[in-house]
Amino acid sequence: MNDIYEHTSVIELMYDSDGEALLVEMEEPTSYQEAAGYVEWTKAMDKDIQSFEKNKTWKLCQLRVGHRPIRLKWVFKLKKNSDGEVVKHKARLVSKGYVQKKGVDFDEVFAPVARLDTVRLILAMVANRGWQVHHLDVKSAFLHGELDEEVYVKQPEGYEVKGKENHVLRLSKALYGLRQAPRAWNLRLDRYLKKLKFRRCASEQGVYIRGE
């Protein structure tokens, strides 16, 4: 029985404009064209675009000679709760960073992360002293990363500016999929933590210390 449940996709009852009931299989679209017809997905894309505008991620301009714009792609995800009910439609614009060339579109990609041993060590020290450990998460971290390189992307599908269809977007902040996105984020975080008087541990770059 469980097997049948697991292998049957969710069917949702939808009504079209004439009030006729339609049986529609709710799946994740794989392209803009597939998603464009659905209000929920259109809303999700609008929301993503708004966050880029709020974040001042890009500026519409003409492509400078010698540069190539990176293509963008919409990725769609259904968020479900533990009962398998759809709770959110999520659309995320990603760049096809795999076409980027080192030295042209980006220089460095390395971003340090803490090692598992370090985490265990910190937990052991903290347990020994009876301190508390708290947990924080930065929302859409990569989108905070500021870019040093000149990176252009094509306008996102469905959101081309009328009359300026052949213009491109010059990025000032990173997008998901961009090769330098992790590093750009790390530099931004590093700068801010240092401003807060943190010192980066020389032998383990994922660790910062403040005070003594």
């Binding site: 985490v119 998460d137 994922g206």
Partner: protein, 82 residues
């Protein structure tokens, strides 16, 4: 820190709170409170002791390799000093 996931500790909890405020001023953050799960490690923080385990991670590995149903064999984990 692990990309966008970070843990913080300090003797004085008020200073942890201050750090959270400083981070929230600059970035959009989720405060996940007292640490309970980080990089696959399950953490329990109690009044007099702390626990760490990787039960979920171990189960995931067993599932991945289709060995969930295999019989269990005791394996020595006690440390011995020479």
């Amino acid at each position: 820190m692990y990309v966008d996931d970070l843990i913080v500790t300090r003797e004085d909890p008020a200073e942890i709170g201050e750090f959270k405020r400083q981070m929230t001023n600059e970035f959009e953050m989720s405060d996940l409170g007292l640490l309970s799960y980080y990089l696959g490690i399950e953490v329990g923080q109690y009044k007099d002791f702390t626990t760490v385990k990787q039960t979920c991670y171990a189960k995931k590995i067993l599932e991945q390799f289709g060995t969930v149903q295999c019989s269990k064999v005791p394996y020595g984990t006690t440390c011995k000093t020479a």
